[in-house]
């Protein structure tokens, strides 16, 4: 476990509601070119490649067939994970630590605009025997969970509405964001998707691609830009079965965070400077910061949004990038867009949203309804002590 691993290059495209002028391969190619230039390496110097993608989101079975060419991975070790991009980061780290590779590339993209019936597709993620025949919208699972979460914690619907406004206002300072807040900030008046979940509390899909280059210490020392060191990373799954899951706590996030804190030697998560957490639904941001252990009493997460503690100028900035609510939800690439924000902040390249203090950041992902899987990555501007 001694090998230190860093992110030495990132490449990304702007998130957009639709990208009619290019194919997914062109999105990936653009991000890859930028990432390799950012890292100052040629594709021939990369040992191994990982893509994170789901067949049904791509509309192609055995999607990993179409992953190598646009990354320069032909006749190289390459595989696909049907997981979030942050799982890919954990995988790359393990490949480097196992000594099988020195430089690994992780790619994830979204061409969500190609999916004509996203809700119908999500229906296919339900258990085919017990749940699908009941014929309900998968968003109802989020609504049920939100209801339970609010009841258990004392957090209110207006706290959730505040999350939407905070993140979409943050997105106004992020040139990558697809859905910055433009006019009406009154989320509470939006129609219900499924009670108590309102339409505006659901992040909208977006197209985009991120490519991340990771390297061992020797590779990091030659990087063109300041490396972002991985201090800890883990992933976990809770019960996928609706009938037996915990409907209030995000156990997957808690388990992944605890393992990552252990690796990073972090006893008090409050020491982390900023957080990029999953906010596919507004309440999820609050549920996730609680699971990350930021508050001893869950209701404090609600109060924090009232007092502005989680705004960029607050004590614990959460989703300075605008989160999925402001940037858009790029399917499996969601986690990697959070990595982009972490790296830019750590390097001091975040432009007008640059935080004054950004030495350690945490990214967390969730795979959306009906899943209970997620991952955590902690990055630092200084290499970890071994």
């Amino acid at each position: 476990m001694s090998e230190r691993v860093a992110i030495i290059g990132i490449g990304f495209t702007k998130l957009q509601p639709a990208t009619p002028l290019c194919s997914f391969k062109e999105l990936v190619f653009e991000a890859a070119q930028k990432a390799y230039a950012d890292a100052g390496i040629r594709f021939t110097a990369i040992d191994s490649f990982v893509t994170c993608a789901e067949d049904l989101n791509e509309g192609i079975s055995i999607f990993d067939e179409y992953t190598p060419d646009q990354l320069g991975a032909v006749q190289k070790p390459m595989h696909t994970l049907t997981q979030d991009g942050l799982h890919g980061i954990a995988d790359a780290l393990m490949q480097i630590r196992s000594g099988i590779a020195e430089t690994v590339v992780v790619e994830a993209h979204s061409k969500a605009s190609n999916i004509l019936t996203p809700d119908w597709l999500l229906d296919y993620a339900l258990d085919p025997v017990y749940n699908r025949p009941l014929d309900f919208s998968p968003h109802a699972i989020a609504a049920l969970e939100m209801n339970r979460f609010l009841t258990q914690t004392g957090i209110t619907v207006s706290h959730c509405a505040e999350v939407v406004i905070k993140n979409r206002l943050n997105a106004r300072r992020n040139p990558l964001a697809a859905y910055p807040l433009e006019t009406d900030p009154t989320t509470e008046l939006a129609p219900y998707l499924c009670y108590p979940l309102r339409e505006k509390e659901l992040a909208k899909n977006a197209d985009g691609c991120v490519v991340v280059v990771l390297a061992n210490e020797a590779g990091a020392s030659k990087a063109r830009n300041q490396p972002a060191w991985i201090l800890g990373t883990s992933f976990a799954s809770d019960s996928p079965t609706l009938e037996s899951r915990h409907w209030s706590n995000a156990e997957y996030a808690r388990l992944a965070a605890q393992a990552a804190y252990r690796q990073a030697g972090i006893k008090d998560p409050g020491k982390i400077d900023f957080f990029e957490v999953d906010d596919t639904y507004a309440y999820k941001e609050l549920q996730h910061v609680i699971a990350l252990g930021l508050y001893d009493d869950p209701v404090k997460a609600g109060r924090a949004i009232e007092t502005g503690e989680t705004r960029p100028e607050g004590r614990i900035p959460v989703n300075v990038s605008g989160g999925a609510l402001g940037m858009g939800l790029p399917l499996e690439a969601s986690g990697l867009y959070r990595i982009v924000e972490l790296v830019l902040q750590l390097r001091g390249q975040a432009g007008e949203r640059q935080l004054s203090r950004a030495k350690i950041g945490l990214a967390q992902s969730w795979r959306g309804v009906p899943t209970t899987s997620g991952a955590v990555v902690i990055l630092g501007s200084e290499p970890p002590h071994v």
């Binding site: 476990m1 001694s2 090998e3 490649f49 789901e54 067949d55 049904l56 509309g59 192609i60 079975s61 055995i62 990993d64 067939e65 179409y66 992953t67 190598p68 060419d69 991975a73 032909v74 006749q75 190289k76 070790p77 390459m78 595989h79 696909t80 994970l81 049907t82 997981q83 799982h87 995988d91 780290l93 393990m94 490949q95 480097i96 630590r97 196992s98 000594g99 099988i100 597709l121 229906d123 296919y124 993620a125 258990d127 085919p128 025997v129 883990s234 992933f235 976990a236 799954s237 809770d238 019960s239 996928p240 079965t241 156990e251 388990l255 393992a259 795979r367 899943t371 209970t372 899987s373």
Partner: protein
């Protein structure tokens, strides 16, 4: 470098069958349970779970990994699903090797599951969606056609006859008669194979593996744990994988370069310099009869174009000089895509431990290689296992 040694300490599988009554979750759990039952490890002592499974379209479940996770034993554990098409079954073990060798985890369960029977009337329809949606799908290709192309190119390049290829079906289906989990063991002659229906010339029905339901699992442990729980660990000596371009039509199909690269990656790690001398037993991927020969050449276990001759000479028989596919392979045991690759690693585990019963190859084999292949004739995945601790 802190690479740790990793051993396989348990293996298990379900019966491979045309149509299982179990749900996909139940199949996965049965395999995990039997793999764990073969050693002293309990599920709660397992640090992480790796799932391998091929297209979501078979089970008709989106985000199949999430649906299967508790069936695989992944509840409240680090769990992920890796994926390289048909090569997944062997790759998943390489993935778990990476996870344990890195020091992140001490123990891992690898399970590969496939339930093809839910795809009605035949999974071939799901396979249409693996082709490029713009340049290929409008031609309505299917797997039999493209593999008939590859077989033709292989035969044409080296002057191989259909009879020589039919021998693979005869050998593997005969070997499968001794496998308790086999779906299609049979005693056949070359004439029987050639008398079976032509699916797409030169591929006959008996040269094609069946569609199957099933699951297979292995348990991996770091050296420290392995020493504690078993006195017969089988060591993973090398892993390799290689993905070629998606533009398969631009590739010379006569020889699988990607398998060669994956094989050398694994052999280098295992310290194998002359594979033909240092490998005692091979389980190459045999979804079609010619593929076994094609892959043996890619694995450097036969000179290019020479595998059919070695087969005819009996070299690859169970009691031959280099036993190949003693399990019965995909042609005999069955082909639940990803699970079939892991079944090959289960076979190596049992053979190297001397626990393969009636299928046991003579002469106490010390090192074996398993390989799988997939995507658009595009990916090779290789694992080398042996009784000796890797350097």
């Amino acid at each position: 470098m802190s690479r740790r040694r990793v051993a396989v300490i348990g293996a298990g599988m379900t019966k491979f069958m045309h149509r299982a009554l179990e749900t996909p979750k139940e199949l996965a759990w049965l395999a995990v349970q039997s793999a764990l039952a073969s050693n002293q490890l309990k599920l709660k002592q397992v640090d992480c779970v790796v799932l391998g499974s091929a297209p979501d379209a078979f089970d008709g479940v989106h985000m199949k990994s999430e649906y299967l996770s508790d069936g695989c034993g992944g509840w409240r554990k680090p769990f992920l699903r890796c994926y390289v098409g048909g090569g997944t079954g062997v790759y998943a073990v390489a993935q778990a090797w990476v996870q344990v060798a890195s020091g992140m985890f001490d123990t891992a369960v690898v399970v590969c599951e496939e339930k093809m029977s839910t795809c009605q009337p035949h999974p071939q329809a799901a396979f249409l969606t693996i082709f490029d949606p713009i340049t290929e799908q409008p031609l309505k290709p299917n797997l039999l056609w493209i593999f008939a192309l590859e077989q033709t190119r292989y035969m044409e390049t080296y002057g191989i006859t259909v009879e020589e290829i039919a021998r693979v079906s005869v050998k593997n289906k005969r070997n499968a008669l001794n496998h308790p989990a086999a779906q299609l063991g049979a005693k056949l002659t070359v004439e029987d194979v050639l008398a079976s229906e032509i699916m797409a010339w030169p591929v006959h029905r008996l040269m094609v593996s069946p569609t199957s339901d099933g699951a297979a699992a292995v348990v991996l442990a770091s050296e420290e744990v392995a020493r504690r729980v078993t006195d017969k660990p089988i060591w993973i000596q090398g892993v390799g994988w290689c993905l070629d371009t998606a533009y398969w039509t631009n590739r010379d199909l006569a020889y699988p370069e990607y398998v060669e690269k994956a094989a050398w990656m694994a052999y280098r790690m295992a310290g194998v310099k002359e594979p033909r001398k240092e490998i005692n037993i091979a389980e190459p991927y045999d979804p079609f009869a010619y593929k076994e020969l094609h892959h043996l050449e890619g694995l450097q276990l036969a000179p290019k174009g020479q595998a059919p001759k070695l087969l005819a000479d009996g070299v690859f028989d169970r009691n031959g000089d280099l036993p190949v596919t003693p399990s019965g392979g995909l042609l005999g045991v069955g082909n639940p895509i990803a699970a079939a690759g892991t079944m090959k690693l289960c076979e190596l585990f049992w053979q190297l431990r001397g626990e393969a019963g009636k299928r046991q190859v003579p002469g106490k084999p010390e090192r074996g290689v398993a390989q799988a292949w997939g995507d658009l004739m595009q990916v090779g995945t290789v694992v080398v296992m042996g009784t000796k601790k890797p350097q």
